[in-house]
């Protein structure tokens, strides 16, 4: 049994992202044997044949998004697997996850951002409490996933203003979990949105070995990046 066979991917998505979800689904299935979607009740995906759990409202940066993330991780932590890949609909890992990046028990693998505590959220009256946040995809060992959920249960549903990457990062920080920071690995190229103006830079990053990405919303960006990824010698075509 491979590590992929022992991985569950939980995808945070919504109906308006349907097209991106359909594009990215085969990539996620390459990373994880079991893929489950968590979506808002008022904006679900139309995905016959896939497992989708809907809850809460479609309300970006709110208690609903935090709650959905927490329930997704809770579900995953009890699904009889060894690893949990937490994914936003615009994040992918092209190709199989390299063996060396699977976390040990109690560890989390992700691109980590370190920030000063007490930072103010631009344009909003939110002061962040955490001193780190994590970009998606985030790979948890099962024990780290359980500890993160335990910590989330102690936190307000409004923690970090409902910004999910901040919320997860802060919970991981409070749980004292070691983060295997991928920034030094050379396999990360991540932005909030990889726009058309960044595509050349993104493709160059992929050709240099990047395969762990967040911010892919556009079809053209995805197709060009995935084509570049398939040219890599270690990637299946």
């Amino acid at each position: 049994m491979t590590k992929r066979d022992r991985t569950i991917a939980v995808v945070l998505a919504h109906g308006k992202a349907q097209a991106a979800v359909l594009r990215h689904l085969p990539v996620w299935q390459e990373n994880a044997k079991l893929v489950v979607f968590f979506t808002p009740e008022d904006d679900p995906l139309d995905l016959p044949g896939c497992t989708q759990f809907s809850m809460g409202k479609s309300d970006g940066y709110s208690a609903h998004t935090n709650n959905r993330c927490r329930e997704a991780l809770r579900f995953a932590s009890w699904a009889l697997m060894d690893y949990v890949l937490l994914i936003e609909y615009d994040s992918v890992v092209f190709g199989p996850i390299p063996e060396q990046f699977y976390p040990e028990p109690g560890e989390v693998t992700a691109p980590k951002f370190t920030v000063p505590p007490g930072e103010r959220c631009p344009g909003r009256s939110i002061i962040f409490e955490g001193s780190q946040f994590l970009h998606f995809p985030i790979l948890f060992s099962m024990s780290a996933c359980e500890r993160t959920v335990e910590e989330m249960d102690k936190m307000s549903s409004w923690a970090e203003g409902g910004l999910t990457d901040r919320y997860v990062g802060y919970a991981v920080e409070r749980a004292n979990l070691r983060v295997v920071d991928l920034w030094r690995s050379g396999i990360v190229y991540t932005k909030n949105i990889i726009g058309a103006d960044m595509i050349d830079e993104a493709i160059n990053a992929v050709r240099a070995g990047a395969r762990w990405h967040h911010g892919i919303k556009d079809r053209d960006v995805f197709e060009r990046m995935s084509a570049a990824a398939r040219e890599l010698p270690s990637m299946p075509s």
């Binding site: 079991l34 809460g56 009890w78 009889l80 409004w158």
Partner: protein, 238 residues
């Protein structure tokens, strides 16, 4: 002075069977665990390792492997083995992982008999046994005069034929007129398939059992009415 809550274990038995959709079973298991934790039980998943720790495993295994089965290889063996595992753990509440708790309380488990089936049809989807009762189940399976048609014989037939006492209101099958008021609901393949055709059982369980509860909780959280801290000390009792 802080209150101390006493938690009780609930067991299920899991053994992957190649012809049965492992991924769907994983999803159901996750929801099973969630539901029993919400009812303040400690859910524990037992495997063949617990069954094999029973001193009469070899004798028991030889006996039950002689029974015919129409199910995929290994399925009914696992069903039989779980009673060994329960005895090894000293008895308690053993449920299938498609028995989902709604508002179950350990106070409901005050029965006068060592073995009680918590199903009106005598289906052993939920069984409560004392330590002596769990050993009695093992002894009964070994000594019972099992009668079958030569095609299929499962632990369900045994429990029904043996006639252990039943408690009929604690667990109800999904689709029963009163299922929405039952402390626990059994989402069997047949009932779920009949009531919600062509749906994953896990998705049915989520929609019927979790979504309403989570929606209420989310609304409270959004309104700032939910205290997220849970600082009550917890102590295991069984």
């Amino acid at each position: 002075m802080q209150a101390v809550r006493f938690l009780m274990r609930v067991y299920t038995y899991f053994h992957p069977v190649p012809q049965i959709d492992f991924l769907e079973e994983c999803k159901l298991h996750a929801l099973w665990k969630r539901s029993w934790m919400d009812s303040e039980f400690i859910p524990m998943t037992l495997t063949h390792q617990a069954a094999e720790a029973h001193p009469r495993f070899a004798e028991f295994d030889a006996k039950i492997r002689g029974f015919p089965s129409i199910n995929p290889a290994g399925y009914d063996v696992a069903c039989w083995h779980r009673w060994l595992a329960l005895a090894v753990l000293g008895g308690g509440l053993m449920v299938d992982y498609d028995v989902i708790a709604r508002a179950f309380s350990f106070e409901m488990l005050q029965f006068p008999n060592p073995v009680t089936i918590l199903d009106r049809g005598g289906v052993p989807c939920a069984v409560y046994a004392t330590a002596e009762g769990a050993e009695q189940i093992v002894s009964d399976i070994l000594s019972f005069k099992h009668e079958h048609d030569g095609k299929h014989y499962s632990d369900m037939f045994f429990f029904q034929a043996r006639g252990y006492p039943r408690e009929e209101t604690v667990t109800l099958p999904f689709g029963h007129p009163d299922w929405q008021r039952a402390p626990a609901v059994h989402f069997s393949h047949s009932d779920t398939g009949r009531e919600r055709p062509n749906k994953f059982r896990s998705v049915v369980v989520w929609h019927e059992m979790f979504k309403p509860f989570l929606a209420e909780r989310a609304d409270k959280a959004e309104a700032g009415l939910l205290d997220p801290t849970k600082d009550v000390p917890v102590q295991a009792a069984a």
